[in-house]
Amino acid sequence: MTEFRDDDAGSEALRSLAERQRARLRGPQPGFEDRVMARMREARAPKRAPLLWIMSPSAVRVRPVWIPLAAAALLVVWLAGSRYGARSGSGAAPAAAAVAAVPGARSDTVYVRFEFVAPGVQDVRLAGDFTGWRPDKVALERQAGNVWVATVPLAVGEHRYQFVVDGKWLPDPRAQAVDDEFGGHNSVIVIGPNGQVRS
C-alpha cells in the first residue's frame, strides 16, 4: 500500500509510481526479445545418440495426406527393384531362358535331327543351350552303320551344342565350330522356320 502525502516527496512518489505503471503497460524494454532468443540459441539442446532417438518412443505428427503418398512411394521403390531384377534376367523361367532364340519367333519350333557317326562307342548324348548344357537330357539312339541319332524340337534361331561321346565333349564334325571360350569348340546351328539349317 502506498501512502500519499500532500508534499513534494509525496508528489515524487506518486510520479515514480505512475512511471512504473506506464512502463508495465508498455511491455518489455526494447531489445528484450532479441536478448532472450540469443540466450536460447547459446543454450544448446542436450544431444541424444541417433540410436537412442530411434529406440525412444516419440510421437510423430503426420498429416493424413502423407500416408497414401508414402505407401505409393514404397510401392514404386519395390516395383523398381522387381523390374531391375526381371530386366537383369531373373524373371524368366530357366528352361526357356537357356535357349538363345530370336525374340518374336520363339513360338516357332523346328524338329532337328542330329546325327553322329561313331563306331565303337557305348554312349552318345547331346548337350547344348537347349538342354541347359546338361548331357543327361538327350540321349542319341544307335542305328545301323554306327550312326547315332536324335530328333529334338528347337526354337527358331541360333543354337550351340556338342556331343558327349562316352563322357567326352566333342563338336559336331559336320557343323560350323566356334570357340567356346573354355578351350574347346561349340557347334553352331542356325535354324530358320523353313527347316534345319546347319551353318
Binding site: 531391375y84 537383369s88 534376367g89 534345319q196
Partner: protein
C-alpha cells in the same frame, strides 16, 4: 518435418536395398535351379549382378556360367571367362554408343557382342544395329552375320548382306535362311567370294536365295515317336 523425412528414409531404405539385393539373390537361385553348385552360383551371380548394375545384360553371363559348369570346366576358368564376357559386353556397348547407337537393349547388345567375338568389325556391327528394322530382325541379323563370317565369308560382305536384307525388309525367317543358302552355294562349288556375290546379287534382284531342300534333312511335321527327351 525433419522427423518425417527421417522416418520416410528409414521406411524406404530397406525396400530399396531389398530390390537391389533381390537381383543378386535371384541370379544365384536361378543358377542353382539350373544345376550349378551353390558355392559357384554365388561367385557367378556376383559377376552377373555387377554387370546388371552397369546396365549390361546378365543373361549371357548366366548362360555361360551354366555352359561351363555343364562341361565340368574348372570354376576358376569359368569365372575368368565370365569376367571377359562382361568386359566384352561393356566394350561393345561403348563402341555402339560412340557410333551413335544409344540405349541399345540387352538382347541386341548381347547379339552385337557375340557378332564382335565372331569377327564382325565394330563399325559393321554398328551399321547393322543402326538399321531401322524390327528388333527381332536386327538380333537375327547380328547372329546371321556372325554365322556367315564363320562359314568363311568376308566379315564386311557378311555385314553388308545383313544390312541390305534388313533395309529391304527381309523377314527373320529369310534372314535365318541366309547361312543355309550360303552353305548350299558352297556345296555347289562356289568360293566364299562367289557365295557373297551371289547372295548380294539375289538381294539386288529382289529374290531370296534359300537353302531349303538342299541341306539338312526333311523336317517332320509332327513330333516323331520315341523322341529321346526326358520331361
Amino acid at each position: 518435418m525433419k522427423r518425417l523425412l527421417m522416418v520416410s528414409v528409414l521406411c524406404l531404405l530397406p525396400a530399396a536395398l531389398a530390390g537391389q539385393q533381390r537381383a543378386a539373390t535371384d541370379f544365384r537361385a536361378e543358377l542353382i535351379a539350373r544345376g550349378v553348385s551353390a558355392e559357384f552360383a554365388g561367385s557367378a551371380a556376383v559377376i552377373a549382378d555387377s554387370a546388371a548394375a552397369k546396365g549390361l545384360p546378365a543373361r549371357p553371363i548366366l548362360d555361360k556360367a551354366v555352359e561351363g559348369w555343364g562341361k565340368q570346366v574348372a570354376a576358376a576358368r569359368i569365372i575368368v571367362t565370365l569376367r571377359e564376357l562382361s568386359a566384352r559386353l561393356e566394350r561393345t556397348r561403348g563402341e555402339l554408343s560412340s557410333s551413335g547407337a544409344q540405349n541399345v537393349d540387352g538382347e541386341t547388345l548381347a547379339a552385337a557382342a557375340q557378332a564382335r567375338f565372331r569377327g564382325i568389325h565394330a563399325d559393321n556391327v554398328s551399321r547393322i544395329v543402326a538399321v531401322q528394322a524390327p528388333r527381332a530382325s536386327v538380333i537375327a541379323g547380328l547372329q546371321v552375320a556372325g554365322a556367315l563370317a564363320g562359314q568363311g565369308l568376308d566379315q564386311g560382305t557378311s555385314a553388308r548382306l545383313v544390312v541390305e536384307s534388313l533395309r529391304r525388309g527381309r523377314t527373320v525367317a529369310q534372314m535365318l535362311d541366309l547361312p543355309a543358302a550360303a552353305r548350299a552355294l558352297a556345296a555347289a562349288g562356289a568360293s566364299t567370294t562367289q557365295v557373297g556375290q551371289q547372295l548380294l546379287q539375289g538381294l539386288d534382284a529382289g529374290v531370296t536365295v534359300t537353302g531349303r531342300g538342299q541341306v539338312g534333312v526333311t523336317v517332320p511335321p509332327v513330333l516323331p515317336p520315341g523322341l529321346p527327351i526326358k520331361p
